[in-house]
Subunit: 233 residues, 2 copies
DNA sequence: GTATAATTGAAACGAACGTTTGAAACAGTT
DNA sequence: AACTGTTTCAAACGTTCGTTTCAATTATAC
């Protein structure tokens, strides 16, 4: 089909523009112009601008989560009876995301900036389309984490997973750009004397991944707190 | 002045609508309607819609960072010669943010959802307005962290601060709404059998803060890695 | 080659956008 | 009471938005 080219051109342009300016700030005309296709082609192939947003996400999330589950199953198969270690589970969950976020070839770098937007913008989208896409991943990994963190109270467990996802999402969204330091340094501000960030390390996904895993393992394995009296507010 | 009322009404309405729908998806008409003021009042008092975005942020960020620095100075004064502990520093940095994010009275809950948007949307804004607002905080806290984590290689140190900020930002943006579980449960999906999240705990900022601090302390204190050979890509 | 369906193209649609205008209403001062 | 500066108001400005239309073009089938 000739339409396949047009569809992909639109998705690539939309992915880039969405990640740079957001969904509602990106016009259909900007997308079709950047894609080099006619204005009406977007509505012809996708029906509406909202459908393009959905399609942009669905193109990346499916493979990402399939890879996560594949790595988890690999780890489970390798470990046999006693099950995979916390580090193995974390690696299965984090590696595909960090990899995708750092891969400029697949356009994943742009896409991952979108995930941060997906959390806040287009609330309906994340509630419906994404929730279903992630449901299986959540369920499987939650079970695996639970097995290696049996002593953690359920709520503590929930929050720590929350924190790990936060660290991951933040890393995915900013590992490529690293606005903090770039901006500060361009303003002539030195964060700390002698603290210069190696650009190579910044963009080396393997190094980032191993650092994130080490951080997450330590955070997840922190000693469980003494129960807090709540409701005293 | 009578205009003070109008200004605040506009800022409150804008803060709420921005946090729910994003900046560009929120129209000036929606803001002024929700604020109960005339359409032209926004341009009269602020000049433009963009100026309203700036004003919404500046109203909250100043007090937030002043409180952070105050708590840090308190901890430094209390600890005397040897300086504050890692937990004290983390508390000074995280407490005002979590507190603000959980305080519905001040509207901070809404505002904190905006910080996530600020990272991605309106890129110029975060690069200019915010960077200057946060520069002092970054410098002071970076120095304090460095003192209690002297053995951490600079890059490892940088990344771990990065992860902590990610966990904090994610928590601020989602602690009130908690879309993950709400959405999944409304879809009939159970993340893990027996894992029901206590709503009280979710919205108790003190409990969230102590959990986040415990997580961050453990993550930051994780053993430094053996140096990785980079540049082999 | 001709019929048929799929795709592209230029132009226009109504709606909503941010902003501006100029008169009306209000405040405070003398 | 008259004046002055500030704030509010309804209305309109020109522009851009997402979408639709329909003829022209291209690919596919017979």
């Amino acid at each position: 089909m000739a339409g396949e080219d047009t569809r992909e051109k639109v998705l690539n342009a939309a992915e880039e523009l969405f990640s740079e300016h957001g969904f509602s700030a990106t016009s259909v005309r900007a997308i079709t112009t950047q894609a080099g296709v006619n204005l009406a082609a977007l509505n012809y192939h996708f029906g509406s601008k909202d459908a393009v947003v959905d399609a942009v996400f669905e193109r990346r999330i499916g493979p990402l989560n399939r890879e996560r589950l594949r790595l988890l199953e690999d780890a489970e198969a390798r470990s046999g009876q006693e099950g995979p270690t916390l580090e193995d589970i974390l690696r299965a969950f984090l590696a595909p995301a960090i990899q995708l976020a750092s891969d400029p070839g697949s356009g994943g770098e742009r896409f991952m900036k979108l995930m941060g937007r997906g959390h806040s913008e287009s609330g309906d989208f994340f509630s419906k389309v994404i929730a279903r896409q992630f449901a299986e991943v959540f369920r499987r990994f939650s079970r695996a984490f639970r097995k290696v963190l049996p002593d953690l109270p359920p709520e503590e467990y929930f929050w720590r997973i929350h924190f790990v996802i936060g660290a991951m999402a933040h890393t995915m969204a900013h590992s490529a750009t690293l606005r903090y330091l770039e901006t500060l340094q361009s303003e002539g501000v030195t964060v700390e004397e002698g603290l210069s960030i190696d650009k190579v390390t910044l963009n080396d996904p393997d190094a980032v991944l191993s650092r994130l895993i080490r951080f997450a393992v330590a955070g997840l394995q922190a000693e469980a707190p003494v129960p807090v009296e709540v409701g005293s507010t």
